[in-house]
Assembly symmetry: D3
Homo-oligomer: 180 residues x 6
Amino acid sequence: MATSSSSLWVSDTVTQLECNLDDTTGELLGHVIELLLEVGAVDAWASPIVMKKGRPAHTLHCLFMQDVESKLLEVMFRHTTTLGIRIYCDIPRAKLCRSFQTVQTRYRNNELDGKVQVKVSSFVTGEIISAKPAFDDCQLISKSSGIPIKIVSETALSDFRTTKRLRSDTDKNELGNGVG
Amino acid sequence: MATSSSSLWVSDTVTQLECNLDDTTGELLGHVIELLLEVGAVDAWASPIVMKKGRPAHTLHCLFMQDVESKLLEVMFRHTTTLGIRIYCDIPRAKLCRSFQTVQTRYRNNELDGKVQVKVSSFVTGEIISAKPAFDDCQLISKSSGIPIKIVSETALSDFRTTKRLRSDTDKNELGNGVG
Amino acid sequence: MATSSSSLWVSDTVTQLECNLDDTTGELLGHVIELLLEVGAVDAWASPIVMKKGRPAHTLHCLFMQDVESKLLEVMFRHTTTLGIRIYCDIPRAKLCRSFQTVQTRYRNNELDGKVQVKVSSFVTGEIISAKPAFDDCQLISKSSGIPIKIVSETALSDFRTTKRLRSDTDKNELGNGVG
Amino acid sequence: MATSSSSLWVSDTVTQLECNLDDTTGELLGHVIELLLEVGAVDAWASPIVMKKGRPAHTLHCLFMQDVESKLLEVMFRHTTTLGIRIYCDIPRAKLCRSFQTVQTRYRNNELDGKVQVKVSSFVTGEIISAKPAFDDCQLISKSSGIPIKIVSETALSDFRTTKRLRSDTDKNELGNGVG
Amino acid sequence: MATSSSSLWVSDTVTQLECNLDDTTGELLGHVIELLLEVGAVDAWASPIVMKKGRPAHTLHCLFMQDVESKLLEVMFRHTTTLGIRIYCDIPRAKLCRSFQTVQTRYRNNELDGKVQVKVSSFVTGEIISAKPAFDDCQLISKSSGIPIKIVSETALSDFRTTKRLRSDTDKNELGNGVG
Amino acid sequence: MATSSSSLWVSDTVTQLECNLDDTTGELLGHVIELLLEVGAVDAWASPIVMKKGRPAHTLHCLFMQDVESKLLEVMFRHTTTLGIRIYCDIPRAKLCRSFQTVQTRYRNNELDGKVQVKVSSFVTGEIISAKPAFDDCQLISKSSGIPIKIVSETALSDFRTTKRLRSDTDKNELGNGVG
């Protein structure tokens, strides 16, 4: 397969479900997106479309990896108004390696005691591609402290860099420097 | 195939055409969507996109089942400005079973004499998943009577339930009760 | 003012805030929409746009009635990356009259004991325009029972009609019949 | 007013109605857009939005000039599920002057006998800004002949130019030449 | 393959990359679209979506023909925040034949000396389907002359027709006449 | 006016132009957005809409502050196909105070010699709300070095913080700490 020739990323396969909906309401669609994730979808989303007869509508999309196809199809059939669901099977997917590291921020006045998970993604070679404080952690701290998420996230990222002592000037890996 | 393992729905395959259009006008796009349906497409729709050089544009999508591929491609080539059309072949599709039943509503002052087709969709097991008065019938009644479609549709659905005497309290099938 | 000439609806005024954002992420935008509602906005939403230099972006909109303008502006400044917020002041708004009625559904196995609030909207004349079971109530029942929201909602609406004994054949008000 | 200072265009005022809808279906929205135009709206359209609680939804917009506000509001209240409609009053509008001219195309085998209306828009000074064959005329000819609208339209425009003998090389008005 | 049965168009295959992005900003997305094209993508675009937790986001799409998959994947990984990219391999594509012809317009006061490339697309049979003056050429002339692109383009197209002496009344090919 | 009651931000007024376009192509729309900015617009953008007769179309928006209204209207009339442009006059706008500071990054191998402008926005009280490296500077450095913009930007922001020695632990202003 095409993606196997690279030594930078790993790969797996996913399956995608799609249906067009012009008679399901938006509030129901929002609900179904969450429902699909609860049942085991990797991702679920909607995109705005224009259907026949001038109907502003949406396509509902859902991504999953295995074993939950029947469950997801049943949720889509029961909870939306669709009569037919397209199944894009076995789509190859290129992926970064992920790991999580915890940083201690100064925002301690919350149930996390200021600890934020940082999601580190890297190539197979070990090169760090990006480091991102978990949004949910930053959101929780933001809600308890009133400090905007963007600030909490920037601070956590800065703390992550410092902790890891990734020195930008002595490190050959320019990108790793940047995010580290 | 993955979908064959379920005993709840049937399956077939469809093919999808797609092209990106940044030099076809919106009024032409609306026309082409109707044209594709006339020529035999199962569905046709457009989605808003952002293309290179900051161009707000649209992707045109078209779904069909068999024998009309050449006709649809020719329509898209002749009536839009596309130079290339992507063909996603033989996409499996899970489908509900459909049947139609007629209900007599009290809105008799029109060419349908108040008769509305109700589209009933169900699993292979016979469980009814949804029942929906045909939009075109409700629209015709609405136009002649001035009564909003949502009211006509709700009334027709209520009449359908009553006619079918699907008693919710004695029926084990909770979902069937709901729609029946 | 134009709207005052009708005896069918009431009117008030709202103010709308808007800003274009091409450097705020989507996950932050979703967070800010909820935040604005918590702080007192009547409504908050985002619309997809295409900005200069080919940037897919969003406009953030927020609607409020009084006294919370400063709070909302501060939230938008602090939590997004905007530098300027447009203020559309004192927009007249035509409104239906609203009331709430409770119906007892058969879905009793939940913390609501099957009770669903139905939002009834009507003209000043008393004519009922629509009746809608509260989405949050239906969602709660759906989550505890597994029954789709659309079924719970249809059932609650049917129960509301029966309870109110709005007889469609004897009532002059055709629309009221339909929804009642 | 700002627009009055230019001698190139004329101006009038329009009023705009808007409401956000997360519980009206797409097929109903398409119907309401046509309905608003029938009742007297100058324009009506929908734009995709993201509302609270992750709901993919739409804003319905409607533009009108006078005397039909009550009718339009009543249509929106009765036929959608909105509870409140924003009214942006008396918006100044800059307009081109319009006139219509008929051209005889060679596509005679239809009920128009090949005659196409060309909409000519110009500045107050008389300078022609654009000339556009009526879409509906071109569509009718296209449907009866099978010739794509874009071809019919280009041909009608070419015929319009020739008929008007707007010679591009001798005419000082570069823009007028272009379209004429 | 399905498309091979037609003698009207040629076909090749393309591969499409897709990823959903809720934490990449719009200004970055616009940049990445251009970057992907520079690296060798046939096309690149973004579509607005609604992701989980009410996040207004975008799907990034990229199309390419061969040999550049690794480069494109690396650009998407390094320059956006995605952790996984879907790869829709070997999608058949139906294509028109393209050729370019140069026309001499009267807009000579620019670095093109008024010469505009016209992109002619046709079926395998030789039938011309459309002729379109290159947008970039028209834009360059428009910028130096102040004449709107739509006028420059219409004029170039008219010049193309005249030069080619495709007489509409004597030519059997109705469509070719139209565009020629 | 409402915004004058706050001591946190300044205010001015802007005017907004809008028109709906279903017969202007996307590539032209992208061009016009850039053109409007060149002529003096503060901002210009397009949003996807669904117009009558099922037409996928766009609204073109343009924002400006003074003296350029006639020029912008003329550009919109001449370069698009609109016949009427709505003018939302004198919209109050709340604004942050802006200043620019230069930081020296280690990415020296380019025409900026690694110098990046940082846009600092703050309340009237002096509290810094956000600091953002100029996208264009980061893009230029990214193009010459191959380093992703997100990395260049994060590094420049980090350098800005260090240079300004805004110590987060001793500073009372929590938000200022975060961004400083």
